[in-house]
Symmetry: C2
Subunit: 477 residues, 2 copies
Amino acid sequence: MIVRQEIKHLLQQPPVGELVTVMGWVRAWRGNRFMVLNDGSGPQTLQVVVDQDKFPEETVRQIGFHACVRVVGTLTASQGSGQSVEVMAEQLEILGANDLSSYPLQPKKQTMEYLRENAQFRMRTNTFSSVFRVRHGVAYAVNKYFHDRGYYYLHTPIITGNDAEGAGEMFRVSTLDPINPPRTEAGEIDYNQDFFGKATNLTVSGQLQAEIGALALGKVYTFGPTFRAENSNTSRHLAEFWMIEPEIAFADIDNDMNLAEDFVKYLINFCLEQYPDDLAYLDQRIQDSEKNMKTADRRPMGLVDTLKFVVANDFARVTYTEALDILMRSKAYKKGKFEFPLSWGTDLQAEHERYLVEKHFERPVIVRDYPKDIKAFYMRQNDDGKTVAAMDVLFPYIGEVIGGSQREEREDKLRQRMQEMDVHADELAWYLQLRTFGGCPHAGFGLGFERIVQFITGMGNIRDVIPFPRAPRLADF
Amino acid sequence: MIVRQEIKHLLQQPPVGELVTVMGWVRAWRGNRFMVLNDGSGPQTLQVVVDQDKFPEETVRQIGFHACVRVVGTLTASQGSGQSVEVMAEQLEILGANDLSSYPLQPKKQTMEYLRENAQFRMRTNTFSSVFRVRHGVAYAVNKYFHDRGYYYLHTPIITGNDAEGAGEMFRVSTLDPINPPRTEAGEIDYNQDFFGKATNLTVSGQLQAEIGALALGKVYTFGPTFRAENSNTSRHLAEFWMIEPEIAFADIDNDMNLAEDFVKYLINFCLEQYPDDLAYLDQRIQDSEKNMKTADRRPMGLVDTLKFVVANDFARVTYTEALDILMRSKAYKKGKFEFPLSWGTDLQAEHERYLVEKHFERPVIVRDYPKDIKAFYMRQNDDGKTVAAMDVLFPYIGEVIGGSQREEREDKLRQRMQEMDVHADELAWYLQLRTFGGCPHAGFGLGFERIVQFITGMGNIRDVIPFPRAPRLADF
């Protein structure tokens, strides 16, 4: 059995004077004598004093950047500045050498694109190790938030035979021979002979199935991968991403908005409390990168200050109609600064959302009561006959982070919308039955997990907050 | 905004004498006067006293089995037996009526198969609501266990271009036109024109990518869906299931076994502590179903006692060679009771595993050091040249619940095994590089999530512990 102490714990309550065993990767050397070690447990490094009397120079020379070592030594109060304790090495063992001449990473600044291509090593860098520790923190906070409040985690299916929601292009899942697939007499693919006996796709949302859970267990949430086969090669889109979808019985659109605001604030606050060192590093990283920018292009607030501001202030709440009014009265609109047209019934574009959040309200905004024709069939119709009880939460930098709605629980109204929007009722018979038999008012929303991780870490490209991004022509690892 | 009190909370600290608002589904009536209400928050029901002076008989008659209602009334100490408090209804509103004459469920015993086909309603039954609350509990305990111990949750990819692990048949993911796919000159499918620019499949395991995380962050775990396109229509297999895969740097096979034992005991203990009422119900359910069985066919212990026993006792630990010796000396073997042959080098079959667990050791068993030729290429070779540092954790009833190993960190030995086992080194260049550059001893395992949920809930068929099971010709909902 291998026994070692983790650096994060050693620095929390340093057992000064004791013999410790640490293992990790060399982040740097200070001169020939001070080795800076990190073991991934946190962003903290441990300084190891390597006395050249004890260890021959050729041994030490082999222990370069990102070599993996085992160190046994006494933890002592440090005489140098920058650290409170250090280890006086008594044993030094190379677990994994690292030949810098062929190692893909180098101890210098490298582009994000290059690090993405070398994702087998990018988590060893300060930036990405912090990003993925914080990503873990957000995920844990998601589960803790819902568990502590009596929600049940529901695993909705990844492979689905539902083709009905129409939230976007889907990936087909099949085991049929692609070269000579079985065909029907009409020449179509005979999916009856496929693994599931029908055509199947990767899920775009677990919401419809989550409603089944809510209408039995009361409050549920999903947290799983979802997929879009959209050919959008942007810094905001992934083909495979994780989504969180709470669904609540006995709830209306107001309950839904309150939950959404409370929930995202909790996630941000959890990270502020639990990952201050990682966030401080990521904050500094942004400030460094903005040094040579014009003031107008810099973030108005640092990362940590932005997070604290979001937690401390109420989100603005407006109806779609009010939002449209604000936009059409704006100088930006009157000066023709918006690319996309605005009129009642059109969807808000990213530029409009950013104006509302960053210029007008200067805080997160919840827009509600959207025109029914730009929203999904399952959203509850308001009494005005024109809008539905939908809501989007808009954030600075990243735009829409949450989209939700009260669900249409009235079977006749739901059927009518399905017919109008060409959703086949026979494929969703079970969904309609949830209204026929013992239904009730219910609501829910979807949070794009990578979007909120992007916001909390301040990373500019969504591909840098997921360990192994999937996008058009990108499925490495 | 809708305001209500949850039944679980009301019964924990009953605010006797106060006016409360509850919403839920009618589980039963006791006479015409006592309505039994459940809202999914827990297995507990709340008795509502419906006075016929206040509510006309025809209203009451409409509120049948699984109708959804809103009740406002005063919480009072109950005079009847079976409950400590009850609500004296002052308002009664039907949120969702339920016409029993067409409702798929009926207030009587129905087969598991039938309930599976009507999964839109099965979570409203006592059995399935308990199963899915406990499933949530196991999932939460997974995250809590690892978070509290400094592991980072890593999302490994669902869609993968890796075809190398060969853990089983895979599902193909594609957006190519299935009827007229683009072809190469040789007549093959031209996957270069597919969404990802290459052939892709659904993952069978996140382990290889998790090793990337462990060799940077130290300790990581995955918890996500995995897939097998195997045509096995059994009560033990799913085509889509959730798997947990911790991966740890600076760990050997002994660390791995200790973690596995501690981890599963924690999961079981968490459920015993947090879901006693659900487990008591499931325990009683098994006892009821075994009433008419022969003693030999019954479980030797009740469900809760079994769980307590597993937590309280050390797992037995033997090598594969010792296990084989035990089996070949057994009466069962000598009397020819095993269907499958036994000799050094053959894999243990379910019947052998069950013998070890249920007959010989009478407790969970960890078998280690399996012959290298029946295990995967990445497992670390032992010094005997014949075995690898692999381990399986075997449980009563469900068999293998965990499979793990120390990973081969020596690049030359790994390359040699890949060559011998026909794994293409060029497709896994990044995996080999983890050894070339700063590697270290590391280990991990995979826990089949549904298997452990099956064990804890005592459900006989794995399709009854996942909300929407996927299996050959089964992709409903």
